[in-house]
């Protein structure tokens, strides 16, 4: 390294600096909406009405948060969202893991058709399915219940989870499973003790995707949950909007900030496990 001429050193340094600068710009671009939301949530109505908005609130206050909590049952709705998103995520992943494994390892015409059908099911828009779904859930008395919404989210998340996990299962070398079989492990044991640990990054990515999708979902929750005590966070947020798009901006921003916290925490807790490379060196050749 030290043998390189200074000009090459300089060029590499400049290139690296440009990379970091581009990364920084991208991060700012990504973070801008969240930072602006946080800034807005601490501003007074007067400051929100200024023509020259400021990044840092001049007189930061928690009034918007207090008002948001007073106006709507935020804690209750956050708990509902957590229950629904958490349950739907865990169930859909619990179903998707063995399903993906079977679809990848037992290739047949049936598995190909099943994979294709799963993909086709993703093409139906919400609006098309909502009324039949509503009637279906009504017949089994699952309207206005969190259980009903969990089932809907599981069904809605499952295809994508399945597709996502199939890719990760394919990446697990079959020779590892053969080695486990040689040692006398059953199929289930192989899945549990060999494949599953190697799927961790894929599992985490799927968990994150499913959780965030269910946490943010609005339309099904709006239509299927009637009682205020059952409503989820995404539905409650629209209570800060009036006719013709008028918004109670400060409390809306405060409630929205609170609504993003669980997703951020979820990411923070799981993102370390997203790192790949667990398979490095597992097999030779």
């Amino acid at each position: 390294m030290s043998a390189l001429p200074p000009r090459i050193h300089l060029a590499r340094g400049t290139g690296r600096a440009a990379q970091y600068l581009a990364l920084l710009c991208y991060l700012v671009f990504l973070a801008f909406p969240l930072l602006w939301l946080i800034s807005t949530s601490f501003k007074s109505p007067q400051e929100l009405g200024r023509i020259d908005p400021t990044w840092i609130p001049q007189h930061p206050s928690l009034d918007n948060f207090r008002e948001a909590f007073e106006a709507q049952p935020l804690a209750r709705s956050a708990l509902n969202s957590l229950i629904v998103a958490g349950s739907a995520t865990l169930i859909s992943v619990a179903i998707a893991v063995p399903a993906a494994y079977i679809l990848v390892r037992y290739r047949s015409k049936v598995s190909s058709a099943a994979t294709g059908w799963v993909l086709v099911s993703q093409m139906f828009p919400f609006v098309l399915v909502i009324i039949p779904l509503f009637l279906l859930l009504k017949n089994v008395h699952l309207i206005n219940s969190l259980s009903g919404l969990i089932i809907v989210y599981v069904v809605w998340n499952l295809p994508f989870s399945l597709w996502m996990l199939q890719g990760y299962v394919k990446a697990v070398p079959v020779s590892l499973e053969e080695a486990a079989a040689m040692d006398g492990a059953s199929r289930f044991r192989t899945l549990r003790s060999v494949v599953l640990p190697l799927l961790t990054p894929g599992l985490v990515a799927t968990l994150m995707f499913s959780f965030v999708t269910a946490w943010n979902e609005f339309f099904f929750a709006l239509v299927l949950l009637k009682s205020p005590e059952n409503q989820t966070m995404s539905v409650i947020l629209t209570r800060f909007l009036g006719a013709e798009g008028v918004a109670d901006l400060g409390p809306l921003a405060a409630a929205s900030v609170l609504a993003t916290i669980p997703s951020l925490l979820f990411f923070a807790l799981l993102q370390r496990r997203l790192a790949g490379g667990m398979l490095a060196g597992a097999v030779k050749g």
Binding site: P45, Q46, L48, G49, R50, I51, D52, P53, E67, E70, A71, N80, I83, V84, G86, S87, L90, I91, A94, I130, I131, F134, L135, K138, I143, N144, S145, L146, S147, I150, L196, P197, T200, L203, F219, L222, V223, K226, S227, P228, E229, N230, Q231, V235, T238, R239, F240, L241, G242, A243, E244, G245, V246, A247, D248, L249, R273
Partner: protein, 435 residues
């Protein structure tokens, strides 16, 4: 992770099941429970609604009401799904523009024989017209309404030397154009700003102020037939807006994409001297105006001719679902909410006007502060929006009128092209609904 996942799964499922089982609407005592779907959203208005529901529940043992919070943002989709699924709330808060499709779809009950005479006579005929259709059936009680007003920077207006209009003697549109020119300082300030995020409603409703109405009604053997018309009187205000934005430059083009709230920072900063807005925006102005900023509420301008002092409004309504098993009880609750003192409470909470004649006399609603009195004085000029009761209006508005008006106000198309599009393409749509 291996151990955490199953444990978390079990905990969440158990919690879910417990939560799901916690609900329950059954009542063996014979008490009827009605769902009241309310769209109140301002803090004061929600509180007023909840207080009235609590008072009702305290004084009515046989019929209880459960408050269900809805949202203006998605009311149509939510109600439509509920109607289709047979799970609609008993009492529905909405606005009259939504009632047409729901009424003709058979989802709403006819209230004409269920409401007390006192309520029928307290609300003016013009307001009842907005919810009466399908051969004289009444599909809702129009209980709140919101006119459009001009909110003006008081100092700039006084300094300009322009005549200050009153509800009794509003500006004519011609005067408004002239005042806008006087208030404009090129490069520094615009006389007004037209916030046209929803251009169709404004264009149609304000057409009444120049003797227009955009939609004609014709009685035929098959019932009432509507058609689109866009003659001189119908288009006078639209042409004025186009002139102000594209010729006089007394209104900024950037305002055309704005909603009402978006214009307020510029208004407070003195960039716009006046802003035509819905009456309820006064609350935002009052909350957000910087210290020392003086503002005043003026009536909308009128046309030159006799009787041209009107504007269209879409009242908020209370309706009963056709599928409700307790229509009379639901209508009784609506009558309770529409009592003059209650109607006034609800109007104050939302910073809008009640429709009832007695509620309009409430002293708080008649105070001078925050422009309340101007609004009350405007009430007698309010008429049902010409769009109400027109089948196919929503499709016409979304597919034809919105893009056509946007192009016209932006100066991208001529008045003739706008008119052709609204009338020719529009009538094709309306005819489809009226076959």
């Amino acid at each position: 992770m291996k151990r955490v996942l199953p444990a978390a799964l079990a905990t969440l499922l158990a919690t879910t099941l417990l939560t799901s089982c916690a609900g329950g609407e059954g009542d063996d005592s014979g008490t009827v429970t009605l769902d009241y779907y309310s769209l109140a959203w301002q803090k004061e208005s929600v509180a007023a609604n909840k207080a009235l529901v609590a008072r009702w529940n305290k004084t009515h043992k046989a019929v209880k009401v459960r408050y269900v919070q809805g949202s203006w943002d998605n009311v149509h989709d939510q109600l439509l799904t509920s109607f289709e699924g047979g799970e609609a709330p008993d009492i529905i808060h909405d606005d009259a523009s939504d009632l047409t499709d729901f009424a003709y779809g058979g989802y709403l009950a006819d209230l004409s024989k269920l409401l007390p005479g006192e309520l029928r006579s307290d609300i003016p005929r013009t307001s009842w017209d907005s919810t009466t259709m399908n051969g004289g059936k009444v599909y809702g009680v129009p209980f709140l309404q919101e006119p459009r007003v001009i909110i003006a920077n008081k100092k700039l207006l006084e300094r300009s030397g322009a005549r200050i209009p009153t509800a009794g003697k509003p500006w004519t549109w011609d005067e408004f154009e002239k005042v806008s020119r006087r208030l404009t300082r090129p490069g520094k300030r615009f006389g007004t700003v037209w916030t046209m995020k929803e251009p169709v409603k404004q264009s149609v409703n304000l057409s009444l102020s120049t003797g227009g109405k955009v939609f004609t009604k014709k009685r035929t053997d098959d019932g009432t037939k509507n058609a689109v018309r866009f003659d001189r009187a119908d288009s006078a205000v639209s042409r004025l807006i186009n002139r102000q934005v594209n010729k006089d430059r007394t209104a900024p083009r950037s305002g055309l994409g704005m909603g009402g709230s978006d214009a307020l920072p510029g208004f407070f900063a003195g960039k716009y001297a006046t802003v035509p807005l819905n009456f309820s925006f006064r609350q935002q102005v009052q909350q957000q105006a910087p210290d020392g900023f003086e503002w005043t509420v003026l009536p909308m301008p009128r046309g030159e001719g006799p009787g041209q002092n009107a504007q269209g409004v879409v009242p908020q309504t209370l309706s009963v679902a056709q599928e409700s098993e307790h229509k009379q009880a639901a209508a009784d609750f609506i009558a309770y909410m529409s009592r003059p003192e209650h109607m006034a409470e609800l109007a104050k909470g939302d910073w809008i006007l009640p429709t009832g004649k007695k509620a309009l006399k409430d002293p708080e609603i008649n105070k001078k502060k925050d422009g309340w009195r101007t609004g009350v004085a405007t009430a007698k000029t309010l008429r049902p929006s010409p769009a109400l009761g027109v089948r196919g209006y929503a499709e016409w508005s979304d597919k034809i009128a919105t893009p056509a008006f946007q192009r016209y106000y932006n100066g991208d198309t001529s008045h003739t092209a706008l008119s052709d599009s609204l009338v020719h393409d529009g009538n094709l749509i309306l005819n489809r609904y009226q076959r």
